[in-house]
């Protein structure tokens, strides 16, 4: 028995060692391997990100990873250059607007074709935009109140009842990508909810973008292949783009080892500790993290007092928050983030003033009174840990006499309370839907986010006038003034406390060029080049 008992485990261990050795000796083929580690182009680029994608049907998609993919697959009528996120430029079309900004005439560029070689026509444009409206999916609101009309084979007119200066920026949103209407209709496409083309569009692309879809698995991997028929201005460098669903910690290791070329999801802390040799594009993101202090007395007698809002605005040590936000983060000077027209200067930002905060706490009679701060604790907007941030806020506000109780909850459950406006204080964030400051007017009284803070229409006439002007003013200089006035008024009188813009940190191998952050589609894969 002695010999048996000693040999068995040894045999098993030997078997394990053989398997490990064989597996470890397997040289990955077709992957990045050592070839890419040495920096030579292999024709493919691997991008690691944490997936948030449900579909890549342009009429339905509305998640960050979906935006990256759809941007690569579908050209839009207008777009933004990679290096300049403030000016709309032509993509499939050029545009003219009437003086009132209620009519936009778009003329298609000659000769542009879909990936099957068929020309892009006005019929395709009308079908794509009407389909987005008719599907009533997540991005349908982008074209609320916009009517679409074909003028001729190369011209389309968009009409709105009121002045719509943000429309060109909206037309650059990937969800408004132009579909090959014939192909989509052949696969069940329609401009109402009888449409059944989503499954087809999740396995194939039908656009005129620099890439075509090779593979999509919404939980693990997406592969784009170069569109050989593409004849637009942005030629793709890489034959294939591979997006992998990877946890941030793994992303960091992958990009440091050269097994991926780009990592999109690094937190500020991770970005600070990157190994030498890996480059980093670190800028304040367009995500604004804010506190809402509910103005509805039915929700809280305490938070609805203007003095309490003042106390919180003066009681937050904004520089102290940046310490935990890591690389790239900046104080949000107002609700409009720094990348957009009308963002406030640093001098206009809210200031930490503990004495003023203590006085306001006393005036509100709030000293020691419990107030609940609710926040989603399972989501990290742009790598920012919401729990750490909430704890820091609790500590800071405690120093000026406020007794803040933290109420963390999973996003899926807390979002309901946020949307129904029942949180006393909420810690949330806002990502831009399109590249225009009009997006942020949602914080105004009676608007989408304003209502969540118990701030109904009629609560502040002056700010409401500015909101109205923000939606309709067309002249750029005037527009900037309106948004700046609005931003300052919101800082002074709204129940919102803009806290910070977390950093957007894109780590990449030195062999990669053209890495630019975009507030809506994060990164333009067709704009990536190779040294």
């Amino acid at each position: 028995m002695k010999s048996l008992s000693s040999k068995r485990p040894v045999a098993c261990l030997a078997a394990l060692a053989v398997v490990v050795a064989v597996s470890a000796c397997a040289e990955p083929e077709g992957g990045t391997g050592d070839k890419d580690r040495s920096g030579s182009a292999s024709g493919q680029i691997v991008i690691d990100t944490t997936f948030d994608v449900k579909t890549i049907d342009p009429g339905r998609e509305y998640e960050p990873t979906g935006q990256i993919l759809v941007k690569g697959l579908y050209d839009t009528l207008l777009t933004f250059a990679d290096e300049d996120t403030t000016k709309v430029v032509p993509d499939l079309a050029t545009y003219m607007a009437n003086e009132e900004l209620t009519e936009y005439t778009l003329t298609l560029e000659e000769g542009r074709v879909f990936s099957d070689g068929e020309p892009v026509t006005a019929d395709d444009v009308v079908f794509s935009l009407e389909r987005l409206q008719g599907l009533k999916g997540n991005p349908a609101f982008l074209l609320d109140g916009v009517s679409v009309e074909k003028i001729d084979d190369a011209t389309v007119k968009l009409t709105t009842a009121e002045s719509a200066p943000a429309l060109p920026a909206i037309l650059a949103t990937p969800s408004l990508g132009i579909l090959n209407s014939k192909v989509v209709k052949d696969h069940g496409g329609a401009t109402d909810d009888s449409d059944t083309a989503e499954e087809f569009l999740n396995g194939n692309s039908a656009g005129s973008g620099p890439y075509v879809l090779e593979k999509l698995d919404v939980s693990s991997e997406a592969i784009l292949a170069k569109n050989e028929k593409y004849n637009g201005p942005q030629k793709a460098t890489y034959d294939r783009v591979i997006l992998r669903n990877t946890e941030p910690a793994t992303q960091k290791m992958n990009v440091e080892r050269g097994d991926s070329q780009v990592a999109l999801g690094l937190s500020g802390d991770m970005a600070e500790s990157l190994a030498p040799g890996v480059k980093i594009e670190s800028v304040p993101s367009a995500t604004v993290v804010f506190l809402l202090v509910n103005a509805d007395p039915a929700v809280s007698d305490l938070t609805s007092k203007p003095d309490l809002v003042k106390a919180i605005k003066a009681g937050v040590d904004y520089d102290g928050l940046l310490e935990i936000a890591g690389l790239g983060a900046a104080q949000a000077t107002g609700l409009v983030p720094s990348v957009f027209l009308g963002a406030l200067d640093e001098g206009d930002a809210l200031k930490y003033d503990p004495d003023a905060a203590k006085a306001a706490v006393a005036a509100a009679g709030a000293e020691g009174q419990p107030i609940t701060l609710s926040f989603p604790n399972d989501i990290d907007p742009t790598g920012l840990n919401m729990t750490t941030l909430a704890e820091r806020l609790q500590s800071q506000l405690g120093k000026v006499g406020l007794n803040v109780k933290l109420a963390p909850a999973p996003f899926a459950t807390e979002i309901d309370a946020y949307r129904s406006g029942t949180e006393q204080i909420g810690l949330w964030y806002w990502n831009p839907d399109y590249m225009d400051p009009a997006n942020y007017l949602a914080f105004g009284p009676g608007e989408t986010v304003g209502l969540r803070s118990g701030w109904p229409e009629g609560a502040n006439a002056a700010i409401e006038q500015l909101v109205s002007a923000g939606y309709t003013t067309g002249d750029e200089t005037e527009r900037q003034k309106v948004f700046e006035q609005w931003g300052k008024a919101m800082n002074a009188e709204s129940p919102f406390v803009p806290l910070l813009q977390p950093g957007s940190n894109v780590a990449y191998q030195p062999s990669v060029t053209g890495v630019h952050y975009n507030p809506v589609w994060l990164i333009n894969v067709a704009g990536l080049g190779a040294n």
Binding site: C12, V19, A26, S219, R257
Partner: protein
């Protein structure tokens, strides 16, 4: 005396001589089939119970799935919300939703996930083989090593080898799996470069044609050796992490089980009779000690299939754990129910198989 009662005497099946008792073939088969039939009937009842429990628990979760599934702007549009509720049957009463769910279930339709917009059954069919691939590897390795370690430890009770193996098994159980996963990934991939990075295949490596959904098996079946090697290489680290935990578990249980058997009189008798150690171990110790170990292996396998969330996340493994986590965090109720039902089914099947295996290993169980 009924045919059943004839079998209540197992005879000297486990006696030192190793001779089988006087079992009659015909009645034995009848009893076995009756035993299997009874177990299957119980399984069907349990399956229905599981649908009720998963449905009820999933719908008890606070929060509105509409808020979680739709974008901020879309959720403010009553027309879009209404359409979403209609599309997923959320406009019906709970009883109506449950009835619809049961009707669809009969047709093997688990509904459509609103996080992937795919049928849940299709999502599961992709995720399950990925998890199976690491779970199978882990359970086989862990069973071989764990039982060997357990036997070795039992035979060396109180000696140095026993102490070391008990420490190893304690470490295996106590170390958090996600921590071991991070350490392994950091050491063997990042630092040493011995193992490939995350995912099931290297970037750009085409997956083999789907037969079982397990890449190593499919690659072998289709003769794609390079894919097989690559898939095997990617399997090593996640499998090793899961194996380590399961080894700890099985070593402890095996040791206890074998120690109990080694204390029996008939083992002493066998030794006194001069039977070789190999014969004693395989014919008596292993057979008698196998039943509790089999139970633990079954439960450990179920746990591997359903509880690999963190390991899958760290290794970028698109398996059932990742799918379940994403479904739960986004309040994707149909996907959560689908996963819950599958996991319940796994335990049901494992218990059934273990029950049946008991019946084969120990004839007394068939009529107990």
């Amino acid at each position: 005396m009924s045919p059943d009662s004839e079998l209540t005497d197992p005879g000297p099946a486990l006696g030192p001589g190793g001779e089988a008792g006087p079992v009659r073939r015909g009645p034995a088969h009848a009893v076995l089939w009756r035993y299997i039939g009874k177990r299957l009937l119980i399984a069907v009842g349990l399956l229905w119970g599981m649908t009720l429990v998963t449905f009820a628990l999933t719908n008890l979760v606070p929060g509105d799935p509409v808020a979680a599934a739709l974008g901020q702007r879309a959720a403010d549009d009553p027309a879009i919300v209404e359409r979403f509720r209609q599309q997923y049957g959320l406009d019906q009463s709970l009883a109506g939703q449950y009835w619809d769910y049961l009707v669809r279930l009969v047709h093997l339709d688990l509904g459509t996930s609103w996080q992937t917009h795919n049928p849940v059954a299709r999502d599961l069919a992709k995720a399950i083989p990925a998890t199976m691939e690491i779970a199978f590897g882990a359970i086989i390795m862990a069973a071989l090593i764990g039982i060997s370690f357990g036997a070795w430890s039992a035979y060396r009770k109180g000696k140095m080898a026993d102490q070391i193996l008990r420490l190893v098994s304690l470490a295996g159980i106590s170390l958090p799996t996600f921590w071991v996963a991070i350490v392994f990934f950091y050491a063997f991939y990042y630092r040493l470069g011995w193992a490939p990075g995350s995912g099931r295949l290297s970037p750009g490596m085409p997956a083999p044609p789907k037969i079982t959904g397990m890449y190593t098996v499919d690659a072998l079946l289709t003769g794609q050796w390079s894919v097989f090697m690559d898939a095997s290489a990617h399997l090593v680290l996640p499998t090793a992490v899961l194996t380590l935990y399961t080894i700890g578990l099985l070593t402890r249980f095996s040791r206890t089980s074998f120690l109990e058997v080694l204390d029996k009189g008939y083992i002493e008798a066998a030794k006194a009779k001069g039977l070789p150690g190999r014969t004693i171990f395989f014919k008596y110790v292993l057979r008698a000690g196998a039943i509790p170990i089999l139970t633990v292996i079954g439960l450990a396998f179920g746990s591997l299939l359903s509880g690999t969330v963190l390991v899958e996340s760290i290794f970028g493994w698109p398996g059932l754990g990742s799918y379940a986590y994403q479904a739960a965090s986004r309040l994707d109720l149909l996907a959560v129910m689908g996963v819950g039902l599958f996991v319940g089914l796994v335990y049901l099947c494992i218990n059934l198989v273990v029950d049946l295996a008991y019946g084969f290993i120990d004839p007394r169980v068939r009529v107990g």
